[in-house]
Structures are given as structure tokens and as C-alpha cells.
Symmetry: C2
Subunit: 208 residues, 2 copies
Amino acid sequence: MKGFKIPEATISRLSVYSRYLESLYRKGITTVSSADIAQGVGVTSAQVRKDLAYFGEFGTRGVGYNVKELLDHTLKILGLNNTWNMVVVGAGNLGSALCAYRGFRERGFYIVGVFDNDLTKIGKKINEYEVLPIDHLEEVVRENNVEIGIIAVPAAYAQDVATRLVKAGVKGILNFAPTVLNIPDKIIVRSVDLTVNLEVLTFNIRRD
Amino acid sequence: MKGFKIPEATISRLSVYSRYLESLYRKGITTVSSADIAQGVGVTSAQVRKDLAYFGEFGTRGVGYNVKELLDHTLKILGLNNTWNMVVVGAGNLGSALCAYRGFRERGFYIVGVFDNDLTKIGKKINEYEVLPIDHLEEVVRENNVEIGIIAVPAAYAQDVATRLVKAGVKGILNFAPTVLNIPDKIIVRSVDLTVNLEVLTFNIRRD
């Protein structure tokens, strides 16, 4: 797949399909059509077939897909055939919401440390996680082979946290701070900007 | 623009450009080149020009864009030439983080009510917002001309909340629950799925 441009929207949908396939697998369902997947996740079946075609030939005409096989393929494509260790930096409301989110673990994402620089937060528990002082960040990242850092601090601190995460050795950053991070190209960054999401919404409302 | 397909990624970047232009305007800067915008937000200048071209002719060759004019254009395109009233349903960690987020108000998004069905949360204050019982949802939406509902409840409750929001009259929903909502086509929905975001990240890490 390397060097082959796959639309980001396709990857996002693949993640959604994959979780839908997982729910079918758990129910003991063994085959599924593109129409079933489409209905289950709310897209067209042409879209499902087009998205899956990026990754090779799946399924048998008139029979559909083998659920387990397609699930395994999607997990492999998404890099989920192994688990991922993550750290969360920022133990405010957003960091706390992330620590409480059960969906991560189900897909093999494990939070191994939560950090803050606020003395009133350090030592407190968020779910099963004790908030650690930010000074321990590098050590925890190295000792646990952490590949993903989640930034949930105010914008003013985000660049500093990103620089530390990169130096400590993470390969990817999920950034919730509303700021553009200046980091090396080899590090994958994905920003979750709540205002952008709202403005795509208002664009579409006004357009209608 | 109606009927003309504009990539969602373009709208997302337009939101980012718009906020960058706002920061320039506040600093008293009157003209800007596509290269300046590109550098300020971390994309290529070709990308900036391509994105803006969807919406007409802006700027003068060799001179650049008038900051105020381009800012006003972007705000209008994004539907931000007026303000938007919103409600947040769910007063847990995520709902609290949303209420504390300052970026919304700066762009004209006003939270006018925060709701929960949990008696231990109702009546408590999150920033300046008192958590209201969910029974008051419809009344608050109608009386305040609320057009956007934000769903920050567990997945199991999301569909019920969405149905109530639509019935009360919202035009758009920002959904943080990891579930597909079944609602009428005329309502714009945007889902912020944290697992999808992580999986796009891991896809790109493994791909590298």
C-alpha cells in the first residue's frame, strides 16, 4: 500500500466497518454482504465496496464476506493486530473523559500513564489511573514502549508537551489542543479540533 | 455553491484558515499571502489557493489577500456571520470539558443549556452553567432558538437524546457517543469518534 494515496475518509470508515464486523463476530454471524455493512453503519453499499477495494479483493460475489476474515484484514490494515500503549498528558475534564472511555481498550489501546503539572491533581485517581507528575513522562514512555501520546492540555502548553513526547520516543500524537504543533515530519499527528467540527456542521446547515 | 461538492477536508481547513485570519486581524495585519497562511497553519500554499478557489476569486496577484475581506468571506461561508445557540446533553467529564472550552464563544457558539438525567449532577454548576434536568431540554431548545445539540452521553442513551433534540427542532448534532444515529436526512450530524481518530493514527504509523 505504500506510496498509494488512500483517502483519510476511507481509513475513518474502515475503522467504523471494523467495529461493526467485530459486533457481528461477537454475535456469531459468519457472513455479511456489503449491503448489510452499509446499513449497519449508515453509508451506501457502493461506498463500502469502493473503500474495501483499496485494500485488495475481499468477498465472493453472491455470497458476501466472511466476517472473521474481513475483520482480521481490517484490524491488520489499521495496525490493530497488536496492542498500543498510550499516555495522556493533561488530567483536566478532557483527560478524565479520555481515561474513562471504554472504547479504547476494546480496540487494543491501553493508557499506561496520565500526567499533569498541577500539584492539586497529581496523586489523585482518575478511574484506575493515578495522576503522575509530568516529570515522569519520559521514563514511563520509554519503559512501557509507548507509541502514542494524547495531548489534553491547554493550547499554551501543547507545543512543550509535544516536544517532550517526541523526544521520549512516541510515533504518533493525538492532539486535542486548538493549536498547530511544530514537530518532525516522521511523527504522525492527528488533531481533534472541536471548533472545526462545529464549523463543518454550520457550513452544512447553512448550505441546506 | 449548492449542489457543488466541496471536500469536507476543504471545509475543515477553511475553519482553520479563518481562525488564523482572525488572529492576524486582531494584530492589525491588513494583507496576507497564501504562503503566509500556509506557514501559519502548517499546509502548502498550493493547498491554501486550491481550497479558497472553491469559493470564488479572492486576492490580487502579487499583493495577496485583504485580511479583513478574506476573514469576512470565510466567516460567511462557514455560516458564522451570525451566532449559534447550542445545548450540551450529558454533564459528565466530556460535557464539562465542552462547557469549559473557551474557543466556542470566540467563534460565536453559545451554550445556552447543559442537561443530564443524573440527580447527583442536576443543579450543580459547571463553569457558569447550572446542570438542568433533561426534562427541560425541549423547552430550552425552543425558547432559545437552539440550532445545535451536542451529545456527550454514553452510547446507550445517544439515540434517545438525538430523537429528542430533532423533535425539539435542532438543525445539527455534534455526536461524541460512539454510535451511529438514526435520524432524518435533513438533520446534519457530525460524529467525533475518538477511536476512529486513533485508528487513522495507527494506520499511518504502521504505514510509514
